[in-house]
Amino acid sequence: MAKHHVTATVNGDTVEFLCDAQETLLDCLRDQLGLTGTKEGCSTGDCGACSVTVDGRLVCSCLMLGVEANGKSIGTIEGMARGNELHPLQRKFIEHAALQCGICTPGFLVAAKSLLERQPNPTETEVRYWLAGNLCRCTGYDKIVRAVLDAAAEIRGA
């Protein structure tokens, strides 16, 4: 079976890659494009480590085929910092020590950014529900939630 030729936008840049029909977007990002910031956790859509945005919508990249990305705009963790300047969420995760092993962190950051784009002033409950699909097995949820709320306040200029 011939490989599929996919053209997509990733973090604002046009990219092209070849993939097999059954390859997931997660595998394509990591193995074809070398964007290894997106992590593989469960591969069944339960853990959120592979979170990316597709045309602005938060999804698990393990539950999407690479070929489905054709013509789409993908956002990954690599697109979050501007050069050497970290995104406020990234800075607040460091300040609040909202990470331990770090495997879940890119997924949490991509998911949190997606929340703040829709709801700049979320309640703690909204943050917890929005991030319920991101699992941290170092169990640092409280610090993560505080970091997101603090980043939201800073972005709002509060």
């Binding site: 059954q22 069944t44 859509g45 979170s51 698990c60 539950l63 070929v67 489905e68």
Partner: protein, 286 residues
Amino acid sequence: MRYEAPNSLDQAVALLAHEAGEARVLAGGTDLLVQMRTDVIDPILVVDIKGIAELRQITEEAGGFRVGAAVTGAELKEHAKLKSVWPGIVEAANLIGSTQIQGRATMGGNLCNGSPAADSVPALIAAGAKACTVGPKGRRELPVEDVMIAPRKLSLAKGEIIASFLLPPRPAHSSDAYLRFIPRTEMDIAVVGCGVCLTLDGKGKCTAARVALGAVAERPLLVAPAAQALVGSSVDEPALQKLAAAASAACRPIDDKRGTKEYRIKVAGVLARRTALIALERARKV
């Protein structure tokens, strides 16, 4: 595996109908990709239907709504009018998985995945929704409760796709609700799910009702005796007791790690009563 992404329903039907091997429809993929990954299925052809415009739309039609089968949970949630007219359907669909899953998961997929515990299905059955299909023999409409026969078994012909769900016109003083019971607060599979849709007259008497249960039988059930317990009443205590008894009596569940038969039968009655009270409160306000 071959991947096709047609932009018309006719092309999608032809692709599925002409494939001799295992062919699957890909909508949100949140069940399909997991089943492929875990080798539950090994399709030779996957037909992605998300490029077909009519499957991605919510439109008002004949006084009701037509909801494309490939509309995602997130899109349902963002449709303010649908949410106000059919709150039970939208809350049921929104119970499926996380934010990430909501960005992809669809009601067409939830139904065609063929799980007795699918959350959106009892809500659609309670609503009196029709599944509008397109297949090699053309288009047809069938009640949602007639689509699933048994776990992973549907009454659809080879090559037949669910294109949309047709929701009927909403009378005055009418609303719906969906509740499911799970042992935690988020992201689990229903031990019991219950959808109730009811209509009141100007004096608050119930003139029409539909009650559906999930996860208590080999497929989601429309429970006519439970609905009859409400019709003609003011949804008062005796009617709610009859409703709960009828809901429990309709269950033919299995024992599994989420709950025993006895537990599911008991919970079905409790849940039917709670769901009816939410639908009642909503119906009084519209």
